[in-house]
Amino acid sequence: MSPSIITGWLFDIYPSSDGITIWLIDKEGVKHRAFTPFVPSFFMHISPEEERRVAALVKSFPFKITLDRVMRRELYSNEEWNVLRINVHDTLRFKQVVQRLERHFPHYVFFNSDIQTQQIYLYETGLFPLAFGEYSINESGMLTEWQLHDTYDASEYSMPPLSTMKLMNRPDFVSPKFRKSYQIEISYEGETYSLENDQPAEILHAVNSHLKRCDPDIVLTEYGDAILLPLLVKLSAELKIPLLLNRDQRAGYFTTKESSYFVYGKIVHKDGAFELAGRWHLDTENSFMMGEASLDGVVEIARLTQLPVQHQSRSTIGTALSSMQLSWAYRNNYLIPAKKREPEEFKSAATLLLADRGGLIFQPIMGYHEQIGELDFVSMYPTIMVQHNVSPETVNCRCCNNEAVPELKYTICTKRKGIVPETLRPIVAKRSFYKKEKKRLKKSGDATWHIYDRRQNALKWMLVTCFGYLGYKNARFGKIEAHESVNAFSRDAILTAKEIAESRGYKFLHAIVDCMWLKKEGASEADYEALCEEVSSQTKIEISLEGIYNWILFPSSKMDPNIPTANRYVGFYTSKEIKVRGIEVRRRDTPKLIKRMQGEMLEILGEAETIAEVKTLASAALAKAKEYVELLRSGKADPMELVIRRHISQEASEYKNRSANAEVAKALDEAGMKLQPGESIEYVLLDSTGKKKPEKARPLTFYSFDDGYDIEKYIEMVFKSVETLLLPLGYDEKTLKQGFGMKIKKRRKSVSTPFLLSQYVE
């Protein structure tokens, strides 16, 4: 090999026996593999005597480990520490060394020890996925130096030409997770090839020949992590036919176990990873970012966080944020304490509530309202953290005393900038830039606005969740006081906004943490803009007019028609654009048919510009609902539109009740489909009372069209979602049934209420 300079992008990176393997793609799309020797290291804060014990121990390893003393900063005290650096001259054995030392020194804190070696390399060198530049490679294939024309936080950057091969299970009625036979579809360059299932050996040969022909940079799958790739690898081992999934044939696959963890008190299930060497395997079903923001979003976050693309696509947002903090710590010579080995878990909702009061929520005034303005604080929490320098090491620091936090009177350091605000700053700045670019390009009819939209959307998720990790006890850089401080600032901001709005004659209808709905007869857009300006300048958080509604409805609580409930509403802006939260049409667990019905009703009501017009259009909307009731009653509704989708919260054997959920989970379990908490189940209700039929519900997998459906229950769902929209106009279930010429069953007795306070507070 002759020495060369490659002008291109850093595509993939992973540890290998010669240090770190790096794949580059040049402008012509040619792939180059290079390596670079690398010595990862970690740190211990120990005395010279103890250092001798470490030295004796590391001699027993069959590969080179060196020790030296260096100065590093401790984050909380900001003191310089003299620490022992342990340098491991084998990237594949870094973890092994750490684990052995941890066993011998169980009571010592290790620093920078639980970070993957390719990450350490990226943090130390400042390289990042898709970094564009000139890379010099010598005659033995070693990367010797580089000159980047790119920065990790750049807002404008180029992408290499990438080829994609889709590898799919053929679309089928049954969820791919539970399919028994292999029917594979491969598509690239506009062609799709179907591979039949009878001869596994032939499938492997065919997959290999397509991989050779296409030589994809990206292998895109659905359930590739959980099903497809493990299956191919298993077949390959059984039949002794090598599989060419990896571009780097010397490397193995990087796999992890499946897991369930908590996010905001909800169990989320994640399939284990199956990552390739020299190509990207992206599984659309096992990637939050791929689902939410697509490849543009994944790349955006990968660059910013320095997490290789495959790894990033499978990471939680916590991992992404934490990676930015680690990088900052490396750049500034701070020590990173190893995470305690506890399962990844948020505090349960209940403990979080006790420890912390959260943001303020003003219950809405129920019913229909017209001429309403909605104001939103833009990225409230991250802006607070950046503006007020809220960070675990700055809140109640040891050097200042200023009681800067409202209510709580905590102190915030004025002498140094915190790790959390410093890592959030580029995210906030980039998102604001992308949003502006998106608006500008969209206006000028430039189709590339989609790219900016997807990038800003990916960043949005980081900003939305960053706050949660600040108080999260297993987060590396979390501290409950920092979390509480952000909330205190947020309460102060929304109350300030309320006071300003009220002083200008606005009525405060509803508010949730960072957005609020206001009413003032005849207020114009300019009036609202003026209000926004004053609030922004007083609170130092940008607030913007989301829009003015023709009308908005705050429905009552489903549990009690006499009390309001936060964050459930539907309304139409003056542009006739709809905004919906929390009601049936938006909920993922609503059967399609009900969603469609409520959607069609809203289409009718959306034409109304005033409440008086809503009242006039209500009868047309009711006629729609009646069509659906009749369709259900006739038994001819499409059962596929009646499928109910739920997440299971526990394993089948743990269910104690006889709910439809429990029955379905058990039925699937008995059929050998082991589901983990957080996975979803789909079923059709047959008899929710459990009196007429042996099963309350049947899993979709076993459902056949002659099973029918629970007519009464689905009609009841129709009524419930009609009530959501029309109860404030006096249409309750009884009136509806009468209107539809149906018999009224005696339901739970309702005593006439003596005095409904809530109805008199308007």
Partner: protein, 94 residues
């Protein structure tokens, strides 16, 4: 992503449950009135949460009173309106 759950809703729920025996001793009409008072407290979630008093019942009771005072005010206005209309009718008739 989930929004913060209104925390004080749960506090009110717990408070309500602690009054079960008291409620049982009430006539049905009065039970309804008691339930209505707790509903009224729920209209003032934000202020209860913001105040964060060590004894939540103080906030709950104050919220009930505030809501009641609003109702009294509104009813007073209504009565005045009706009286005004009544006088008008009386004059018109005479």
């Amino acid at each position: 992503m989930g929004r913060t759950v209104p925390t004080f809703t749960m506090v009110i729920q717990q408070e309500m449950e602690s009054w079960t025996k008291f409620r049982r001793g009430l006539r049905q009409e009065d039970q309804e009135a008691l339930d209505e008072l707790f509903r009224a407290a729920r209209l003032q979630l934000a202020s209860c949460a913001y105040a964060a008093r060590p004894i939540p019942f103080e906030s709950i009771a104050m919220a009930m009173l505030v809501s009641q005072q609003r109702v009294i005010g509104n009813l007073k206005k209504r009565v005045e309106r009706l009286e005004q209309a009544g006088k008008q009718n009386y004059h018109d008739a005479a």
